[in-house]
């Protein structure tokens, strides 16, 4: 309902390390995020995030995942290595689940949370059971029941 204004307001001011790639409609946005500190895992890398908004946003959380872009697009993007990010880009973060979401969050704040989640990480690994998960998961992101067992990240 009032998502339009809210989303268009963001385009005026974007925090550092975050860039809007595509925001021409109110269903799907794409953002580029960079990790600004010297974390060797993500140094000089840019990652592409896809936001999918439901018509109940911001009461309902948007679906957020990392996406890959092939080299041929001119802006190659990969999925960052992180113990909470599956290799198909799905992110296990309580902020993005319906339990941890707050309607006060915005696209910027989600991007900044993901930036800090990557910054704080020093393990170059995928979540346990990554291969089975990406092979078997056919559900939509919001229907997946994650268990947020790790409070350190």
């Amino acid at each position: 309902m009032f998502a339009t204004k809210r989303l268009s307001k963001m385009q005026e001011h974007v925090p550092p390390g975050i860039a809007i790639v595509k925001c021409d409609n109110l269903e799907e946005w794409q953002m580029d995020i960079k990790i600004l500190d010297q974390n060797p895992l993500y140094l000089d890398q840019t990652y592409r995030l896809k936001f999918t908004f439901s018509n109940k946003y911001p009461i309902e959380p948007p679906e957020v995942q990392f996406i890959q872009c092939p080299d041929s697009t001119g802006t190659p993007r990969t999925i960052p290595m992180h113990p909470h990010i599956y290799s198909n880009g799905i992110i296990c973060l309580d902020l993005l689940g319906s339990a941890g979401w707050s309607p006060v969050q915005t696209v910027e704040s989600v991007c900044m949370s993901l930036q800090s989640m990557l910054t704080a990480n020093n393990r170059n690994e995928r979540p346990p059971g990554d291969q089975e998960f990406i092979a078997t998961n056919r559900r939509r992101i919001r229907d997946i029941n994650f268990v947020y067992e790790d409070d350190n990240v």
């Binding site: 204004k5 809210r6 911001p58 009461i59 319906s98 707050s102 309607p103 006060v104």
Partner: protein
Amino acid sequence: MNLQDFLAMEESRERDELIDLRSLDLVSEYDSHLMCPICHCPFVEPVRLQCDHVFCGSCLSSAINSFRSADSDEFPCPSCRNPTQKVSASVPRLLINMCDEIRVLCPLITEGCQEIIPRGHVQSHVEKYCGYRLLPCPDNSCDQMTRSKDVGMDQKCIHKVRRCAHCKENVLEHEYEEHEKELCPVLEVTCADCETVVTRGALQEHIESCPEVAIPCAASKYACPVKIRRADIAAHEQSCPIVAMGPYFETQNARLKSLESSMRHLQQRNEIFEDGLANIRSTLFESTRLGANSHSGGQPPQSDREQQSSARVDAHTDDPADLAAGVFSSNATTYLLSLHESLREEVSQLSHAITDLDARASMAIMNECMRIKEDIAHTNAAVNSVRMQVQWLMNPRLHQGTRGGAVRPSSTESEGTRTNMASSVAGPSHATGQSLGPLRPRRPSDSGREGTKL
């Protein structure tokens, strides 16, 4: 009130709301503290939680509906996640006033209303005062809508189509008056200049050809100030000297233009040449400087060279090439001299720094030496005291040893049968005597070593 009451209240309120205050176009910036963090609009009917966070009532109710676990009477605040049970509708009046005062455009801007009003007045403006709100046509047989400002006192329907008596065009009733007065192309008007009566449609054409309209002289671009009626302009142009000069002016203008362009071209070429010349000069200067640098001698050969070059300058001042060379060589010499000066300064600075460092280092060494000397004196004293103690401790053993040593030979001499026993008794004391043996000669050597250390 608790959450249930609040939700019920919000539900009943939403029904009588007419205008969506969030979709209004704001005219000015507003303070970011007045923004509801959920809908990012200035608060609409704000409510307050126990933690003092304020939200729009409707935003909060939708958030509660989707976040509250079923039939619990607690709800985490969207901003701080503090559990809250009570919602207070008593938000400071100040906050509500500030939100109501934000200037917005009338939502009927699509209908043509240009008014800017405080947000608090939008509802009443749209309901009562806006001239562009649509009302059903006062004529009951007409099903169209009318802007409220078009509904006159006489309550007539304005949608009736009326045929213009002059141009046979169909015109709406409420536009008929305007059409008749100003727009109808068949109506006749009089030309302001020649008093001729023409139809409105032909007026523009008439003005182009009207003999009474004042037009400027053909030579007005060459500063002829005359502006007279079209009828007289031909006579003026025949006598106007500037018109006669016209073709001449034109050719002059063309010539000026071409000259300007060629001049610009030449200027550019000149700049290129100047750049090239400067380049050549700098390379020449460079090479002479290199030549001067390759001179192995110090000051005397340089001054020689300077004299030579100055002599040459004196001799051939009329020859520009030689003059340039002379200038370059003298330049090189001065450059070298200045280089020498700066190097000399640097060297003196360095020597200063070195003496400074030297002094500091020797001071540091002195300090360190003093400390070490004291330490060694302490150690010496300690060693001495230890030696004294060891000596004192050893003294009885030594006495024993000498006694044993004195006893043993006598016993071996007197009784061979006792020898075994005596030697077994004297063994250890003899051994201590042996171990003490090297101790005694070592002492002077130890102190000697300490002495050399100091």
